[in-house]
């Protein structure tokens, strides 16, 4: 600080005061600068710490995201695994399906199940929402449907049962829409019920017309529907060459660039235009048509297409020795391993109709002989060839007809296995046993069909 020691007057004092003030400001500035510098260092340290924490959090988030992605991918794979790998072949129908994912876990599922009553159940459903919850409900619903279909051929009854079960399990707002058709391969009818699902379309090849299988029915699985949901059975008569198209709404809700929906009418037109094609090509054409309509707009939802073609089974029925009025049960087998399944079904019915243990055991031998002959000798062990079984068990008689795809053989020229020279020959003993145990046995002229009958209280 400068002091007024020279006493040079007021003017000087004024300057000295100003200088002193300036010095004071400078000092203050220096002190503040020091303080700012110190704060800067602290801030830099804080920034470093925050930056480190942020990097760590970003890394953790990335890892969680990656784990979630992996889990979603696994869920997607599990869900796709729930789709049947191969659709079972039935006597009078062929089926094919396409599932188009929308890049996330969806809730579509389809299934074809041959019921214990030898009806063909065709199921399609769509769980609301996406992601893990939808996948979990899909898996649960698949099991519940399979169990209910095993017990009942009435689609409405199946829906009631599954709704009751699912309502107890699903505690969220989710639900599913479903369509279940149960085809009687002898009557060529389909009994169906619709639970809020988009109605399938039946294309009649001869008339080139499409009929929508519309009917009433509530969604399934929403807890609010537990006591009010109702479902109804309807029936449609099918004809050979009819094609039934089942789908989920992800198909018709595909959007164009302008935001227009593909819609059921465009789908119907695509079905009429391509209806004469083989079912595999037909589905490809529909998928292409929808993709063309979308013009690259991403799918909002995954979708499923399932097409079933009804084939003529009249010739088989005629050949079986049964009539349509007999309403026989029908089954397909391909290999020896299938025999025990047939036995179990037929013998259970014999027991149910009050046949004696002895008769049941004798019938079992006949089933083994008929099917072994058809698979090993008729179809020469070729597992791609089928053996068609028709059977009818009543309280009066039990009849079974087995048709193979072989060239047939002369059942009258079979050696007598009782003759000593034929003892170690395998040929002929099976037919001998069948002739012995059946009350009636008939062969067709080609020799590839055998019909055996045993009467209640017969030999």
């Amino acid at each position: 600080m400068i002091s007024d020691t020279r006493n040079s007057g007021n003017h000087n004092t004024h300057y000295i005061n100003r200088i002193n003030r300036l010095i004071s400001i400078c000092k203050d500035f220096r002190s503040k600068c020091k303080s700012i510098s110190s704060s800067n260092t602290e801030l830099e340290q804080l920034l470093d710490e925050r930056s480190r924490a942020l990097t760590e959090s970003t890394y953790k988030l990335g890892r969680i995201h990656s784990e979630l992605e992996d889990e979603m991918e696994t869920a997607k794979r599990i869900q796709e695994g729930l789709m049947p790998k191969e659709l079972p072949e039935a006597v009078n129908l062929r089926a094919t399906a396409i599932y188009i994912p929308a890049g996330k876990v969806g809730g579509d599922l389809y299934d074809i199940i041959i019921t214990p009553r030898q009806k063909i159940a065709i199921l399609i459903f769509d769980v609301s929402g996406h992601g893990i919850p939808a996948a979990l409900i899909t898996a649960m619903a698949k099991m519940l449907f399979a169990n209910a279909i095993e017990k009942n051929d009435s689609p409405a009854e199946v829906f009631r049962e599954v709704n009751k079960q699912l309502c107890n399990f699903i505690k969220t707002e989710q639900y599913l829409t479903a369509f279940l058709g149960v085809i009687d391969p002898i009557k060529n009818t389909m009994t169906y019920s619709r639970a809020g699902h988009v109605p399938p379309m039946v294309y009649n090849t001869k008339k080139s017309v499409v009929t929508k299988l519309d009917s009433k029915g509530f969604f399934i699985g929403h807890s609010a529907l537990l006591n009010i949901a109702e479902y109804w059975d309807n029936q449609v008569q099918l004809a050979p060459d009819d094609k039934i198209l089942f789908y989920t709404d992800g198909l018709t809700e595909g959007c164009s660039e302008e935001g227009k929906l593909y819609g059921a009418e465009r789908l119907k037109d695509a079905l009429i235009t391509n209806g004469s094609l083989d079912i595999k090509f037909l589905l490809d054409k529909i998928v292409d048509d929808q993709a063309k309509f979308r013009q690259g707009t991403p799918l909002r939802d995954d979708f499923t297409l399932l097409c079933v073609e009804i084939q003529d089974s009249e010739y088989l029925l005629t050949d079986s020795g049964f009539t349509r009025e007999d309403e026989p049960n029908i089954m397909l087998v391909y290999a020896l391993k299938d025999i025990e399944k047939v036995c179990s079904l037929v013998l259970k019915e014999l027991d149910h109709c009050g046949y004696s243990d002895k008769t049941i055991k004798q019938f079992k031998i006949c089933i083994f002989e008929m099917l072994t002959n058809a698979i090993l000798h008729g179809n020469k062990g070729d597992a791609s060839k089928k053996v068609v079984i028709f059977y009818k068990i009543t309280q009066i008689s039990a009849s079974m007809s087995v048709i193979d795809q072989g060239d047939g053989f002369d059942y009258n020229s079979i050696p007598d296995p009782l003759s000593p020279e034929n003892r170690i020959k395998d040929h002929g003993r099976g037919v001998f046993l069948m002739r012995h145990y059946f009350d009636e046995i008939h062969f067709n002229s080609k020799g590839n069909r055998i019909l055996g009958r045993k009467y209640h209280g017969g030999k």
Partner: protein
């Protein structure tokens, strides 16, 4: 099906449990019989007490085995077939040329005979 084989002195026992109709079972029995023959067993007993089912393929095996063993001058005995299996054996006329022991005592007598 379950197939077990054991021997006591000159007698071999093959026990069949389950259903006799599948090719792999027929082959396994053929093999068991052949092993016994190779080990100089001269009396072979097929224990059918717990065999619940037989079809024409199983009968064919019995016929071939009987032929193979008796041609060697050995003994082949069916032991205690279950009633439903016995019925098929009888219907096929096998009881006319095969030895069937319907109990363990009957088997002892048959085995003791020269």
């Amino acid at each position: 099906m379950e197939i077990t084989s054991n021997t006591t002195e000159d007698t071999g026992y093959i026990t069949l449990i389950g259903q006799l109709w599948q090719k792999e079972d027929l082959c396994a029995i053929d093999e068991a019989v052949e092993n016994l023959i190779q080990n100089n067993i001269t009396k072979i007993v097929l224990d059918l007490d717990r065999l619940g089912f037989i079809n024409s393929s199983g009968l064919g095996l019995l016929a071939r085995t009987h032929s193979r063993i008796t041609e060697l001058g050995h003994k082949f005995i069916l032991l205690n077939p279950h009633s439903s299996v016995l019925e098929v054996i009888e219907v096929s006329g096998f009881d006319l040329f095969m030895t069937i022991a319907k109990s363990a005592d009957e088997l002892k007598i048959i085995l003791a005979k020269k």
